[in-house]
Subunit: 468 residues, 2 copies
């Protein structure tokens, strides 16, 4: 394979012959000399090619694809060690800056584009500095996720995307169907429900909102598992914080208690940060300069210091103290029993602690049915990891592994135990303490890149009314 | 974390103290001595624990979860170097072999179960030898896929699961909707089509059948990308070869021609095989003995020899020769212009070549619109990799990167160019030769494990009428 630009940039300027293929980022015409910067997506920086006394095709403009042969020489320019003294240039595909043969001009000229404009051009936006950098960081982060868990004996598990379970209130769901929407099988007149026995799976089916329960089944078989797959919410919230389709990572570990789970989450997050600090410095510098001043320093600090751990009760105490000290500082008054609001998370991470915080032991009423009840009968062994800028990035818990306790909690909540027979089986046969957590991958990419809008950290964002 | 059994089994029997947690695989009561085999899913083998003169709870039976403390000693038993001389045993969760407190007996007793029975018990089947081994191999294979591409400068890309494209005949699709199926928005009487402007995305939406076209967009930005995500087919085929939901790997490379693509596919497949031969020997031995005699030798041979490359025309010539030599040997007569049938693939891989075969340059009529036309005007630069036992495991091609040629082919096929405007843009602006392929991940897992039914190589198989 032809060498990548990141490989060429790391090589000594030893006048070796090189062949480069990529796209023109910029072209500068001087007297007798043309400088062309080529990028190929392998790293943030492009490679400068000096074309001295050789013909440079006029069609060689921003966005055009080219092949350049030349020799690798020391660069006189600042900030780069090497450049190419071009011997020949071949234009492969033009990207005309003006209408040509009825084709409109290339939409991504050198000038800056708004992120909103780029969202409407998802098939080209990977060519920009910003989305290119996001894509590289996202890809390396995903690999770091796999490496972290695989190195620790975790088995990667593909939990199902299509599910018959309705997720017990975890969020609005998309229906998956092959029924004819104009004439769904309808046994008793237009007002009756469609007959889902006629649907593809013979019953109602949906897109999953979480693989946790299935991951628990495999943790009770193979001890350590993790998922990394797409999950869905059909919520009609058109915000910079929500997607209808996003990727989630959910490790689940047998014989784990809450403290083990916190250690794992902290190690995991730090590993991800360290990986990107080490592997993508050029991309991080760009985000730091362009989108989030101080980004790199903040990530480095988070990767190194111990995460502060507070119980929910302690956190609420701090919030109440802060609210009393300055009335009106919070829009939502903090009070034991209420959920933490974004402004409360901001206070904890950016004022009180100035770094990541793990909040544990929440009131059972504001957490899911499967979380293990504490001895106090009021709180559950939940844990949320909060980070500066973003708030909650990880949510997890120890699971209720005791059959009677789980059945009791489900009855309190009016849940039908027959619909959870298989889940209760995990407590009937060889049950064991276990714990896990979920991390929304796009939120991790946002945290690492500083990108404010979640739609800019996934290649093809899906949200209400948007399906480019 | 407590050590995994695979770590303990690799340690010297130096009488160190160890703590093991896992599930009872077998229990053998001798006079004054009880042998308990514990497994934790970390490897195929369990760990033998000799309980000499210590109390062993009666509830400690197959499937129960336990914690054992003891010392690591040399094992007198054959086939294992170490065992544990147990000092104490704690029963954590029972799995009673008989009905107890109204709970039916543990369904997975020591006796063998049919794979069909296990498919109906997906939440417990990960605890069996077979599905445990499949899960380990599947997880390591997935990691090998990532490692292979990441080490070669490929960016991991999450292409969208929900799509507005109808995939141009690649297969029947699932609809994704939030419309009320009993009363979908219907502007002009019950016979009219529902009004998809009222649906979640403001238009019709489906589950993707491939991420290739989107991957092409990113290959034209970042040179080397790969996808690894779920894809869907709503085909009502209830066979051992098809799933409604399966995972696919699709690399796409800029500046690549067909021969480069073949080299990549061959290197990739060999890398996957070598990884599993090296990392999962215990699981492979089990599959070799129990499901597919000669499995390991066949994989090793495939990992080492060069794949034979034949054009479609050459392959068809060989098939016609074989058909003429023994009339009636094929159910489907081979003839230029027809697709290869399973029996033809079997002949090529198991008789003619006795190993993997790459068939290239198929008639354009039997391949997709985006494949690059050869100079003969009749064939396209397609490539299928066929392997013994399974047949086609990889399908790919060089893509038509020439705008006029692609538009011409789409017009021949009656395709609406407006619906592919973004895809044509990739040929309008900075176009470049590129190529890629797709590999169905479950077929790779089948190839490596020898499992005959595709439903046994994915944790929760989805097929028509089946949604456990």
């Amino acid at each position: 394979m032809v060498p990548l630009i990141k490989e060429i940039l790391a090589a000594p300027p030893d006048r070796r012959e090189v062949l480069v293929r990529g796209w023109v980022r910029t072209r500068r015409d001087m007297k007798n000399l043309v400088f062309v910067e080529i990028h190929d997506g392998s790293c943030f920086n492009g490679l400068q090619c000096a074309c001295d006394g050789i013909p440079v095709p006029p069609g060689l403009t921003t966005g055009a694809s080219v092949e350049i042969r030349g020799t690798l020489v020391p660069s006189p320019a600042q900030g780069q060690a090497v450049e190419i003294a071009a011997a020949s240039i071949t234009l492969i595909g033009e990207a005309p800056g003006e209408e040509k043969n009825g084709i409109p001009p290339y939409p991504l000229q050198k000038k800056r584009h708004t992120l909103e404009f780029l969202r409407e051009t998802p098939h080209l936006r990977g060519r920009t500095n910003t989305i290119g950098a996001v894509t590289r960081v996202r890809g390396r982060l995903a690999f770091a996720v796999h490496r972290f868990f695989q190195d620790r004996g975790y088995h990667y598990l593909h939990t199902p995307v299509i599910t018959g379970s309705d997720a017990e209130g975890a969020g609005a769901m998309f229906r998956v169907t092959t029924l004819d929407p104009a004439a769904p099988a309808r046994p008793q007149g237009p007002a009756a429900k469609p007959d889902y026995r006629e649907d593809f799976f013979g019953r109602e089916s949906f897109l999953t909102v979480s693989g946790q329960l299935e991951a628990e089944a495999y943790a009770m078989a193979l001890s350590r598992v993790y998922t990394f797959g797409p999950t869905f919410r059909a919520e009609n919230s058109n915000t910079a914080r929500h997607l209808a389709e996003f990727w989630m990572i959910e490790p689940e570990t047998a014989f784990f208690h809450l403290a083990d789970n916190m250690d794992l989450a902290e190690d995991f997050l730090k590993y991800c940060l360290k990986t990107i600090l080490e592997e993508c410095p050029g991309d991080l510098d760009f985000f730091d300069q362009r989108y989030q001043k101080g980004l790199t320093g903040g990530l480095r600090a988070a990767a190194e210091a111990a995460f502060t751990r507070l119980t929910y009760t302690e956190a609420m105490g701090e919030l109440e103290k802060a609210a009393a000290a300055r009335p009106g500082r919070f829009e939502f008054a903090p009070a034991w029993g209420r959920d933490l609001q974004s402004e409360h998370e901001t206070f904890l991470t950016e004022e009180l602690v100035r770094g990541p915080v793990i909040v544990t032991d929440y009131p059972k009423e504001i957490k899911a049915f499967y979380m293990k009840l504490n001895g106090d009968g009021k709180t559950v062994r939940a844990m949320d990891v909060l980070v500066p800028r973003l708030g909650e990035i990880i949510g997890g818990s120890e699971r209720e592994e005791n059959l009677a306790a789980l059945e009791h909690r489900m009855a309190e909540l009016g849940m039908d135990p027959d619909r959870y027979g298989w889940y209760l089986d995990l407590r009937r046969y060889g049950t064991a303490p276990h714990a896990g957590f979920g991390l929304g991958f796009e939120r991790l990419v946002q945290y690492v890149t500083g990108m404010a809008n979640i739609r800019d950290v996934i290649p093809y964002p899906r949200a209400a009314g948007r399906l480019y």
